[in-house]
C-alpha cells in the first residue's frame, strides 16, 4: 500500500484521477481517498505541521502500515531562488526546533535533490532566507509522525516549486497546473518505487503455510507445551531455511510408530531424537 499525503485537495487531484480513488465516506475528520486494488490510500492533511502530524498519525494508527508500504508526501513549496522545478528531499529541517530528518536516498531518479525547511508560516521572501533551498509547512511533521510507522527507506518527499516567497500569488489553478506538469514523473517514480519495496517485502515475508501446518501437526503429536512448541517452530523454520530434508525424517518416525507420542514426556524424548538425527 502507498500512503500519499498532500496538504491541499488541489495537490491530490492528479492522484485521485489517475488511480481512480474513491472517497472514504466513513472518515469524517479528514478527506481520505483510496483504491484497494491499486493499493493506494491518500489523505488531504491540511496546511501546517500540527494538522499534518495529526492526520498522518491518525491514518497510520488506523491502517497500520506494513513493512512493504510507502509513505509519500507530495506538494508545493517555495524556493529561495527558483520559481519552478521538482525536488526529491534528502534532508528536512524543522525550522522551529532545528531538528533534521533524512529519508534514505535509495533509488535512481531524474529529480534534483534538495534540503527542505519546514516552517510554521509560509515563507514570504522577506523573512531571513531559510537555511535550505526549499520551504514548506508540513514535511518535517509528516516525517516525524510517519517515522512511528515507517522506516526512512519507506518515506519519500517530493516537492514542486510554486513560488519564491510570493505566496499570495499561488492560486489553486497554478497548483493544479504545476501538479499536472510533473504528474508523469511523480506517478512513474511512485509506481516503480512501490513495486520494488513491495517485491522485497513479499520475498522476505513469504507465507510458510505448509510449514505452519506441519508444525501444528507435529506439536500436537509430541504433546508440546508452549515453550516446546516455540522450540519446534524455530527448529522447523531453521531446517526449512537451511534446505535440510527434515520431512523424510518425520515421515520415517511416523512409519516406525515413534509418532504420535502418548504423552508430553515421550514427546520430549522424540524431539531430542529428531534433533540428533538431523545434526
Amino acid at each position: 500500500m502507498v500512503y500519499i499525503f498532500t496538504a491541499l485537495y488541489c495537490e491530490a487531484q492528479i492522484f485521485i484521477r489517475q488511480f481512480k480513488l474513491v472517497k472514504n465516506q466513513e472518515n469524517t475528520w479528514l478527506q481520505e481517498f483510496y483504491n484497494e486494488s491499486a493499493e493506494i490510500r491518500l489523505a488531504v492533511i491540511g496546511v501546517g505541521e500540527i494538522a499534518a502530524a495529526a492526520a498522518v498519525g491518525s491514518i497510520c494508527a488506523l491502517y497500520r502500515p506494513a513493512p512493504g508500504d510507502l509513505l509519500v508526501n507530495v506538494g508545493i513549496c517555495a524556493h529561495t531562488a527558483k520559481n519552478d522545478g521538482i525536488f526529491l528531499c534528502s534532508k528536512i529541517i524543522e525550522n522551529a526546533t532545528g531538528k533534521t530528518f533524512y529519508p534514505d536516498m535509495l533509488y535512481r531518479h531524474n529529480f534534483c535533490e534538495g534540503t527542505l525547511v519546514t516552517g510554521m508560516l509560509p515563507w514570504n521572501g522577506e523573512n531571513a532566507a531559510p537555511a535550505g533551498n526549499l520551504y514548506d509547512m508540513e514535511a518535517a511533521a509528516v516525517y516525524q509522525a510517519g517515522s512511528r510507522f515507517f522506516g526512512p527507506h519507506q518515506m519519500i518527499f517530493l516537492k514542486i516549486v510554486s513560488d519564491h516567497g510570493a505566496v499570495g500569488e499561488v492560486s489553486r489553478e497554478r497548483v493544479l497546473h504545476l501538479m499536472e506538469k510533473y504528474q508523469d514523473c511523480v506517478l512513474d517514480y511512485i509506481g516503480q518505487t512501490a513495486a520494488i519495496t513491495q517485491t522485497g517485502s513479499c520475498r522476505r515475508n513469504s507465507p510458510h503455510q505448509e510449514e505452519e501446518r506441519l508444525v501444528e501437526t507435529i506439536c500436537a503429536d509430541l504433546h508440546c507445551s508452549k515453550a516446546m512448541r516455540d522450540s519446534v517452530r524455530h527448529m522447523i523454520r531453521y531446517l526449512t531455511l537451511a534446505k535440510i530434508d527434515y520431512v523424510s525424517v518425520i515421515q520415517d518416525m511416523y512409519e516406525k510408530k515413534l509418532l504420535p507420542c502418548k504423552d508430553k514426556r515421550e514427546g520430549k524424548l522424540r524431539f531430542e531424537e529428531f534433533k540428533e538425527r538431523l545434526f
Binding site: 533509488y107 535512481r108 531518479h109 517515522s147 526512512p152 522485497g200 513469504s206 531453521y238 531455511l241 537451511a242
Partner: protein, 339 residues
C-alpha cells in the same frame, strides 16, 4: 525514469553525509575527492543519520552511503569476551570505521548497529594520540579492523597504510588488521612490519557462497595471504567463525586441504579456531532484519547472554578442525576460543 527500471538502486556511496565540523578535514577532503559525482549532505552529528529508527539493513546494503564524522568520547575499547586475545595481556580494539562493504549474513555488525551505512571517522590523529597515551603505560595489542574491513576500504580511505606507518614508529605496539578481502594492490605494495599482523578470515567456499555475500572467494583470499607472506608480512589465519552447514566436515576438510596447498603453514604466525557465537541481543536484532537467513536462525544454545551452537556440535566442529590443524602446525600456534 528508464534508469529505475534497468537498475533501480543508486550506486554505492551515491550520497555522502559529512559532519559540518569535519567538512574541511584533510582526510574528508581526500575521501570526497574520490567521489566527485556524489551528493554531499551536510549533517551536524553522524548519529542523526546513522541512528535513525526502523532502518533496513538489507535494503541499505544494496546502496550503502558513506558518513564522514569525528569520533568523540571513548577511542579505545577493551577486547570483548567473545573475541580471541591470542595470549596478549593488553588486548584492545579501535573503531575508526563502522560497518563493512561486505554483506555476511552472520556478521555481528548487523546486530550491533542500527544502520548498514558506513561511517568513517576522519580524526584518526585523535585515535593515534589515545593509543600513544596508553603505550606510555604498557604495551598494546590492538585490533584496528574489527567493526569494519579496513583493507576492503583501503582504496577509499587508506587507513591500513596509516596504521602501518603509525605501528612502525611504536615498538611496543602490535596491531591486527583483520580482513576477508583479497586486496592484491595492497599486498603488492606492502612493507612488512613485525608489529602488523594481517589476519585473513577463511571459510569453506560453500559457506562463502551461501552467507558471505560480495566477499572474495577462498582461493582469492588465500592467494592474497600467500602473497603477503612471501613479502615477509606476519599472517594469521582465522577459522573463526566456523559456520554450521550440512556436511560441514567435508567442507571444512576440503577448505583445509586447499589452505595447505596454497599457504606455507610453517610460516604463519598462528591460527584461531572458533565456532559462531554472538550476543543474544545482537542476534535478536539480526533475526528481525533477516527473517529468511538460515545461518542466524539456527536453534542456538544460550549461555550468559551469548548464543552458540549446542555444546556437542561446537565441540565436534572445533575439535575436528583443531585436530586437522595440529597435523600441520604446532599446537602453540592454534588458538581455540572457549566459552
Amino acid at each position: 525514469m528508464k534508469n529505475l527500471k534497468k537498475d533501480c538502486f543508486n550506486p554505492f556511496f551515491s550520497h555522502i553525509y559529512v559532519e559540518k565540523s569535519v567538512r574541511n578535514h584533510a582526510r574528508a577532503q581526500k575521501i570526497l575527492a574520490e567521489f566527485p559525482s556524489a551528493e554531499i549532505i551536510e549533517i551536524s552529528y553522524y548519529k542523526d543519520v546513522f541512528c535513525r529508527s526502523r532502518q533496513s539493513h538489507p535494503i541499505q546494503h544494496r546502496t550503502q552511503k558513506l558518513i564522514l564524522a569525528a569520533r568523540q568520547g571513548t577511542l579505545l575499547y577493551e577486547g570483548a569476551p567473545v573475541c580471541q586475545s591470542f595470549g596478549n595481556q593488553y588486548f584492545y580494539y579501535v573503531s575508526c570505521a563502522m560497518n563493512c562493504i561486505f554483506d555476511c549474513e552472520y556478521c555481528y555488525l548487523k546486530g550491533m548497529y542500527p544502520s548498514a551505512n558506513i561511517v568513517v571517522f576522519v580524526n584518526l590523529e585523535d585515535i593515534f594520540a589515545a593509543v600513544e597515551q596508553m603505550l606510555e603505560k604498557h604495551p598494546l595489542y590492538l585490533c584496528v579492523s574489527y567493526d569494519t574491513d579496513l583493507l576492503a576500504l583501503e582504496h577509499i580511505i587508506g587507513y591500513a597504510q596509516e596504521w602501518c606507518l603509525f605501528a612502525a614508529r611504536h615498538e611496543n605496539l602490535k596491531i591486527e588488521i583483520r580482513t576477508k578481502c583479497a586486496n592484491r594492490s595492497f599486498a603488492r605494495s606492502v612493507v612488512p612490519l613485525p608489529g602488523v599482523i594481517y589476519a585473513f578470515t577463511l571459510s569453506p567456499q560453500a559457506v562463502i557462497e551461501a552467507f558471505e555475500h560480495h566477499t572474495p572467494s577462498l582461493t582469492e583470499r588465500l592467494s592474497c595471504a600467500g602473497e603477503m607472506m612471501r613479502a615477509g608480512c606476519p599472517v594469521r589465519l582465522c577459522f573463526d567463525p566456523m559456520v554450521y552447514v550440512p556436511d560441514w566436515k567435508q567442507h571444512y576438510e576440503a577448505m583445509l586441504a586447499q589452505v595447505c596447498r596454497m599457504i606455507d603453514m610453517e610460516r604463519i604466525v598462528d591460527v584461531s579456531v572458533g565456532t559462531f557465537r554472538i550476543s543474544q541481543d545482537y542476534l535478536k536484532n539480526m533475526r528481525r532484519q533477516e527473517p529468511d537467513s538460515a545461518v542466524i536462525w539456527f536453534p542456538f544454545q544460550r549461555k550468559d547472554g551469548y548464543c552458540h551452537y549446542p555444546n556437542d556440535l561446537m565441540e565436534q566442529m572445533e575439535c575436528f578442525l583443531t585436530e586437522q590443524l595440529e597435523e600441520k602446525i604446532s599446537r602453540e600456534k592454534i588458538f581455540r576460543w572457549r566459552m
